[in-house]
């Protein structure tokens, strides 16, 4: 049974059909990538899984139970967590406070404090800035904070929205090493990336999203060799 399963999900926003019926699945312990250009609907997909957007039609199941249409707080409680596009850390809150928000649905004071310590150990650069406001952090540090915040709820499934955006290559390397480690420890990852090369080298499988529909899917080797994918997404490098 797949951990996450989307069936014919269609989503409208502002009168426009952004997702026109997509189906995908993610197995436990996998890393699955979703690639596609800007506006294809990648962030919309993640927002719909999180419950921020409600699908017009279709079903989403997590751990066998339907989660479409549920409120985000319930979905987070069930074990899904997101690292949003652009980090979206709470700039006026400190690093520690940001982490605590991540654990809001499983708040148990002592547990939360232990988790905070655990995260700070895992991310030493955050430990240095533990009491500083998030706004003072560099882009890479903010990304680490966003990831750590996402992990605070001990999610079974971690949704990552464009983690490489706006970051220098060395930092990106660090981040993906961390993601690999997280996956090794048992967290499933669904990764959305504009940087297709990066995404496909990291994931086991991939989905290609074009204008709100799944155009292609397959294991990473197949996609990396695929002509369409090569021409559309692998020929260009990110100009960041």
């Amino acid at each position: 049974m797949a951990l996450l399963k989307l069936e014919e999900i269609a989503v409208e926003y502002g009168g426009i059909n952004i997702l026109k019926g997509i189906s995908l699945s993610v197995q436990e312990k996998e890393i699955v990538a979703m690639i596609g250009s800007n506006g294809a609907g990648k962030t919309t997909t993640l927002s719909t899984i999180m419950g921020i957007l409600k699908p017009a039609t279709g079903a989403i199941a997590f751990n066998g139970e339907p989660i479409h249409g549920l409120a985000p707080e319930i979905i987070v409680a069930r074990g899904v967590s997101i690292v949003p596009e652009g980090r979206r850390v709470f700039s006026s809150l400190t690093v520690i406070e940001n982490l605590k928000i991540g654990a809001v649905v499983r708040w148990n004071r002592s547990q939360a404090n232990r988790d905070v310590d655990e995260m700070l150990t895992l991310f030493p650069s955050l430990k240095r800035r533990a009491r500083q406001r998030a706004v003072a952090l560099s882009g890479g540090e903010q990304q680490m904070l966003a990831i750590a915040r996402g992990l605070m709820s001990h999610p079974k499934l971690l949704l990552m929205d464009e983690p490489s955006m706006g970051l220098a290559p060395l930092i990106i390397e660090d981040i993906f090493k961390i993601l690999q480690e997280i996956n090794r420890k048992g967290t499933t990852i669904l990764l959305v990336e504009q940087n297709a090369k990066l995404a496909l080298e990291f994931a086991y499988r991939g989905y290609v999203l074009v204008s709100g529909r799944i155009a292609k899917t397959g294991p990473r080797e197949t996609l990396l060799e695929d002509d369409f994918v090569k021409k559309a997404y692998l020929g260009q490098h990110d100009i960041t």
């Binding site: 921020i52 979206r88 700039s91 809150l93 709820s153």
Partner: protein, 277 residues
């Protein structure tokens, strides 16, 4: 000294305003009526029912918070198109309703709210300082400290700050955003009520006393609509400035000057004097 205590009142009201401005981008024109409500409840509990002052105080705050919740649920939340203009109009509408309820309940004549410390003065090096002023300042500072503690050390407080920083991200983390917003309304109303019951003995308690909040509006804006510290400083500043001006200008024109100052500040720096850029 008078200036400081009026300043404390303005600061409290302005704080309540900034709370809502930061979480909802809502300029709460009803804040004046929460001040009135607090004062009225003070009259009810302390004067009419003769309950001890601190009981009246807490009861007034609690009841006004409940009213604040009702207002949010019934007038703000249902708005299908919550544009800035619509929310302004909605709060103006509620303020009209409450003002008129105040008129009905209280009558057109001003009511009397006595201070628990009566008219007692303290003689300090030749200056007479009323105990009530001291009460106002102490209570205001106490409330502000409580708020600071709440926002920095409790889960809910941190959640509200997260909502103020980035509402959607907070939602994505599982924070119950609408509950936080309702709670913010409650706190904001409680602050208004506290100001009302504290300022009652100093000025007329009547259905239109909400206009005092207009000056606090100015302070909130002058301090930078989104800055708590700015609101507090501007509130105290306004109180002091007013007292200084009172020595030179008759009270009627004083209001004109206040309003002109408001416009002046707005023009010079629409983001307020203390905003971050």
């Amino acid at each position: 000294m008078n200036g400081l205590s009026m300043g404390a009142i303005y600061a409290l009201i302005a704080l309540g305003l900034v709370l809502l401005l930061r979480s909802l981008n809502l300029f709460n024109f009803v804040q004046g009526e929460t001040v009135m409500g607090g004062a009225f409840l003070g009259v009810l509990f302390y004067m009419a029912l003769k309950l001890p002052f601190w009981v009246s105080f807490i009861a007034a705050l609690l009841l006004m918070s409940i009213l604040g919740v009702l207002i949010e649920r019934l007038a703000i939340h249902p708005l299908k198109n919550p544009t800035v203009n619509n929310m302004i109009v909605a709060t103006i509408a509620v303020s009209v309703i409450l003002q008129n309820m105040g008129l009905i309940l209280g009558g057109p004549e001003p009511l009397i709210l006595a201070s628990p410390v009566k008219d007692l003065y303290l003689n300090l090096g030749g200056h007479r300082i009323s105990w009530h002023s001291i009460l106002i300042i102490v209570t205001a500072l106490g409330l502000m400290t409580l708020l600071q503690g709440f926002f920095n050390f409790t889960k809910t407080g941190i959640c509200i700050r997260a909502v103020m920083a980035d509402r959607q991200a907070a939602q994505m983390m599982g924070v119950r955003v609408s509950r936080m917003i309702t709670l913010t309304f409650a706190i904001s109303s409680a602050l208004g009520a506290a100001s009302g019951i504290l300022v009652g003995p100093l000025i007329y308690v009547s259905f239109d006393m909400g206009s005092i909040a207009m000056k606090a509006f100015a302070a909130a804006i002058a301090g930078g609509m989104y800055s708590f510290l700015g609101a507090v400083i501007a509130g105290f500043g306004l109180g002091l400035a007013e007292t200084l001006l009172a020595a030179y200008v008759s009270s009627a024109y004083r209001d004109v000057i206040t309003y002109t100052l408001i416009i002046g500040v707005l023009l010079m720096k629409p983001q307020g004097l203390f905003s971050r850029g």
